[in-house]
């Protein structure tokens, strides 16, 4: 099927992706489960479950709620912690040849810095800094909303991080354009957006919010038009590469994000509809290129 003259491969901040489709953090674990269900080697990359310096048990209560065309989640960054990940989960991916993206959240600048110092000694392709998880009380949200607060963590991490550094932006940011420009100015290699939108659901029988934390993160097709607009704005404002995500479910969605300026895309919630949906997206993009006689996605990237 691969047309010799046409390639989906992209150079993403110096990391070569065999195609621009990456699974989004938190929706694919550390790859082991989907690896048993389909050939994850065909993916452009995997953004692994969000880590924090120490183990986190995650949130209590209901963690998932469906909305028309979307889902809300309140996992609360349940994860084994960076040291455990580096010794146990990361090595399980060593034989795969896709881009390995390590996603890191934190509750204080010190925690981010300590975690990065540990991760510096391990081999992977990109560090994706999650400054935007809306689930953790007093956590990620604070960093990602205000540009000047985010600057501190981005700047400090950049100084010590030995990997390619990609900052994952929150759509809840006060000013997503200034936030993205700050990331570029502080020396980030790339940007990914968007994380989930802060949202709410009420159980009218219990007369209480559905989620113990009150709010939760909305993702899925419901957010796609807003995510696309934000990716477009950010791509206009910075020159570093952007990984676009938010509700991407079909290859048409992925092409829209590329046209809006994204170098690559991530697929999250859609995998819950069909575990290997990302492979359908890759095939659909290749066929689109063949039909339109495109040799490289460059020809349509950022044309809007």
């Amino acid at each position: 099927m691969m047309n010799q003259n046409s390639t989906l491969a992209v150079d993403f901040a110096g990391v070569v992706l065999k195609n621009p489709v990456v699974l989004a953090s938190g929706t694919c674990g550390f790859g082991q489960e989907y690896g048993k269900i389909f050939d994850i080697e065909k993916l452009g990359g995997l953004s692994l479950k969000g880590l924090t310096l120490h183990y986190r048990a995650g949130n209590d209560g209901i963690r998932i709620w469906e909305t028309p065309s979307g889902i809300m989640n309140s996992v609360g960054l349940e994860n084994p912690g960076v040291p455990h990940f580096a010794e146990h989960e990361l090595p399980m991916l060593k034989d795969y040849h896709f881009a390995k993206i390590v996603n890191l959240g934190g509750h204080s600048v010190e925690d981010y810095v300590k975690a990065v110092e540990i991760l510096n000694d391990y081999d992977f392709d990109i560090l994706e800094l999650n400054i935007s998880c809306p689930n953790v009380k007093g956590g990620g949200m604070n960093f990602g909303v205000k540009t000047e607060i985010a600057r501190e963590v981005v700047g400090k991490v950049r100084q010590i991080c030995k990997h390619k550094l990609m900052i994952k932006l929150s759509p809840n940011a006060e000013d997503i354009v200034s936030l993205s420009q700050m990331c570029q100015a502080e020396g980030a290699d790339a940007i990914s957006l968007v994380n989930t939108f802060l949202a709410m659901a009420v159980d009218i029988n219990k007369k209480k919010p559905v989620f113990d934390n009150g709010y939760a993160g909305l993702s899925g097709p419901a957010i796609k038009p807003i995510a696309l607009r934000m990716v477009h704005q950010v791509c206009k404002a910075v020159s570093i590469p952007v990984m676009g995500l938010g509700g991407i479910t079909t290859w048409e969605d992925a092409i829209e994000f590329i046209m809006a300026g994204a170098t690559a895309v991530q697929v999250g919630t859609a995998s819950f509809m069909k575990p290997d949906i990302a492979l359908d997206i890759i095939d659909g993009m290749q066929e689109y290129m063949n039909r339109n006689k495109l040799r490289d996605l460059k020809e349509i990237r950022g044309i809007l």
Binding site: G26, T27, C28, G29, Q32, E33, Y34, K36, I37, K49, A57, G58, D60, I62, R63, I64, W65, E66, P68, S69, G70, I71, N73, V75, E78, G220, P221, T249, T269, S271, F272, M273, K274, P275
Partner: protein, 237 residues
């Protein structure tokens, strides 16, 4: 992709759906079902009610959008069926009680069959609790030595855990908790099948996490069956 062989109403809102699907599924496992394209976003986890090598039968209650779509499926319609997923009920022996509340009775049918097949000497009592209407009691009689039903009350009032070597249960959490409290100081080993909300169904998203005595567990992958004492542990200890 599976094909619907039969989908029949067995009570006001319970349906039995038989799907053509080659499988080697085990008692207590479940499938992620989907009979639509993109919406609703999530597939629905449904337990195995019965199976053979070429078919799987599901017992489901129409409670919302997804199960309502299932209820409209006709013979020869296609349904996406991913699985089987999860662990199994343990192969217990001796005097066994299977206790189901509402649609929680679903996984107990095939479990009773299997346990009997594994050890015909075992004596199986099936307790079925319903809120307003008993369903499939005749069918359950064919797989259990004794059937006890309760409509409108508490099925847990009917059981004396002392009489059993093992109790396997599936149903509303409060029911399973009462059962555990009743039986925890007896010799009966008690196992519960959990029904936490799910998204991926395979262990990749952590939305189905259950806190247990030995740490967080994924209901979809480490469960759905757990020793009751793991789930209803005393957090203060």
């Amino acid at each position: 992709m599976g094909k619907v062989l039969e989908n029949k109403k067995v009570s006001k809102d319970f349906f039995l759906m038989k799907v053509e699907q080659k499988n080697q599924a085990l008692m207590g496992q479940f499938y992620m079902l989907r009979a639509w394209e993109q919406y609703p976003v999530l597939s629905r986890p449904v337990s195995i009610y019965d199976r053979d090598d070429n078919t799987v039968t599901f017992l489901y209650k129409a409670v919302g959008k997804g199960t309502e779509i299932f209820s409209r499926l006709k013979k020869d319609d296609e349904i996406k069926i991913d699985g089987p997923y999860g662990n199994t009920f343990p192969y217990v022996e001796g005097r066994i009680a299977l206790v189901g509340g509402g649609v929680g009775i679903a996984p107990l049918f095939y479990t009773a069959k299997e346990l009997k097949k594994q050890n015909p000497e075992s004596n199986i009592t099936i307790y079925l609790g319903f809120s307003d209407e008993a369903v499939l009691t005749e069918e359950f009689k064919t797989v259990g030595d004794r059937i006890i039903t309760n409509v409108g009350g508490f099925i847990t009032d009917e059981i004396n855990p002392e009489e059993y070597d093992a109790i396997l249960t599936c149903g509303p959490l409060p029911m399973m908790r009462v059962l555990y409290e009743k039986g925890k100081d007896t010799k009966a080993e008690i196992y519960v099948s959990m029904e936490n909300r799910m998204a991926c169904g395979v262990g990749a998203c952590l939305v189905c996490t259950c806190k247990t005595a030995s740490g967080n567990k994924k209901v979809c992958k480490d469960g759905p069956v757990f020793p009751a004492k793991e789930v209803f542990y005393d957090e203060s200890k």
